[in-house]
Amino acid sequence: MSALLSVADAHVAYGKVEAVRSVSLEVGANQIVTIVGANGAGKTTLLSAIMGILPLKGRVAFAGQDLSRLDIEDRVAMGLGLVPEHRELFVTMNVEDNLELGAFRIERSKAKASMERVYTLFPRLKERRKQLAGTLSGGEQQMLAMGRALMGEPKLLMLDEPSLGLAPIIVADIFRIVTELRASGVSVLLVEQNAQAALKIADQAYVMELGEFVLSGKASDIAANERVAASYLGFQHEGASVI
């Protein structure tokens, strides 16, 4: 079976500075794949380029189709979703409007059922559905950002640092939901600084350093790797210890 997302020999540059060099990656159906690495390794840059926000040199294919000529909106319509690090919510609009707009490219009749699914996944959002997105707590905003992306019925959801700055109990909740997504048939490409938590739920993992993948393989093998343990699992940020 061919991979859902395959990236081959990708380069991403900001002007003359190459932030991502010769990176290749695959995400299969029903898989959680994680990219771990220190701050500034190029993880966010890579996700942005896969989504079409930044220009990428190399080959990116999704569901067997070449993405190079497609813009962000076309990629969304194909079933590729991104929850960016800064969430990019519509802060002056309420929760329900944010979700409704997430289904902009979906048939109206399906959007209703989609919203019910999101509310089952995040009951907190249902309680706050008339509240403005900008007034939600950090954790709720993260849930809304994920919910909005899920409204578009993605086949692959890319999550950029979903645990950043959140309380440990909410982080645990978000990681639980990520595994639920896999069970419901959505693949996830997860970028995390919280390597320990990410490696625990992922199937495959890549370790990124200074714009390159230095290690890849099954998540459990990567977690057991001594070098990874020393560089990433020893010095995690606060949220990690609970999970």
Binding site: V76, A77, T92, M93, F104, R105
Partner: protein
């Protein structure tokens, strides 16, 4: 001054203010969605007004031909951008919206212009013609620059304004025109006399504001427009095309402009270059609203209208100066309220 005169001035101010309110709202909308400061808004006003007046007088307006010419330009742009991935559906869609549609409207205009059509037909044709001009202008002049800075967009906007004004002189000549009233007749209430035309202005303005409010609050496309204004990247990640939002914004702005023109031209004689000053007054209101607030813009527009009415009574030579001077205290207050100037991020 006695009460009657004051009431007259207030009434006059509110009639003008209602129109400035519509124009101000359109400016806020276009700026929020596309970051374009729409200087040519005033040309939409004159084009709407003079197209309407020409049609009503049984003359063929040049704007219908301009719409077709711009449509052909927009079609070429569409093909050029999509040249590496052309497919049939895209070509057909672009052909229909950019060439077939204005060609049909041109044919209708030629047909109707020859036989002094009824007011309703004149209004419908004028609105459609100006709406198409607005839509194609966005495609040609602003969509290719969508990723650039506010300053570049402003320069393009000034360019479009000058070009349209020049073309306006070519189409309508240097002579002023007046159009027939949409609603004739009048009635008096106390000392005040309400003409059918001023009632039309109030009615249409209120209906349009309610319509816009419903559109933005309830419909998916209205919400998509707001979403683009709030967070461009967020909107794109939800699959909302920035170009679609821009097209809708320009369409609304040009229709609002043309409608305002059609409402004014039975009251005042309009020349090919009258629109600029009218648009600027809408702009004053939009600035007072900070280019973001719709309710504040509407209220400010009424204030602008009333100040203008009073200053034309007391010091008619200085009436424009007084209106534009309103900006100084507002800008001063705003700069004090927000001392930190944020650099535009790009």
């Amino acid at each position: 001054m006695n009460t009657t005169i004051m009431l007259f001035l207030v009434q006059d101010g509110i009639t003008n203010g209602a129109i400035y309110a519509l124009l101000g709202l359109a400016l806020v909308l276009v700026f929020a969605v596309t970051r374009v400061i729409l200087i040519p808004q005033g040309e939409f006003v004159t084009y709407g007004a003079l197209t309407y007046a020409s049609l009503a007088a049984g003359q063929m307006p040049g704007t219908a031909k301009l719409a077709l010419a711009l449509g052909i330009g927009a079609f070429v742009f569409d093909l050029f951008v999509a040249r590496k991935a052309l497919h049939g559906r895209l070509v057909v869609r672009s052909l229909v919206t950019n060439i077939v549609l204005p060609a049909i409207v041109l044919a209708l205009t030629i047909y109707f212009a020859a036989q002094k059509p009824p007011v309703a037909v004149c209004i419908a044709l004028s609105l459609v013609i100006v709406a198409m001009i607005g839509l194609y202008l966005y495609r040609i002049a602003f969509q290719p620059l969508a990723h650039t800075s506010v300053l570049v967009l402003l320069i393009a906007s000034v360019g479009v304004h000058l070009a349209l004004q020049g073309l306006g002189l070519l189409f309508f000549g240097a002579e002023g025109q007046r159009g027939p009233a949409v609603l004739s007749g009048s009635f008096t209430a106390g000392a005040l006399r309400f003409t059918g035309q001023s009632i039309t202005v109030y009615g249409i303005t209120i209906a349009f504001i309610i319509g816009l409010w419903l559109f933005f609050g309830l419909t998916l496309y209205g919400k998509a427009l707001r979403a683009t204004a709030v967070n461009r990247l967020g909107a794109r990640l939800a699959g909302i095309r920035t170009t679609l939002s821009g097209q809708i914004a320009f369409l609304l702005a040009s229709v609002i402009g043309a409608l305002s023109g059609i409402m004014i031209v039975p009251i005042t004689t309009l020349y090919y270059d009258s629109g600029f000053l009218i648009g600027l007054k809408g702009f004053v209101a939009a600035i007072i609203g900070g280019l973001v607030s719709y309710p504040l813009t509407a209220v400010a527009a009424l204030v602008v209208g009333i100040v203008e009415a009073f200053s034309s009574f007391y010091a008619s030579n200085y009436k424009e100066v007084i209106v534009f001077m309103l900006l100084i205290p507002v800008l001063l207050l705003r700069s004090l309220a927000a001392p930190a100037v944020e650099e535009e991020k790009d």
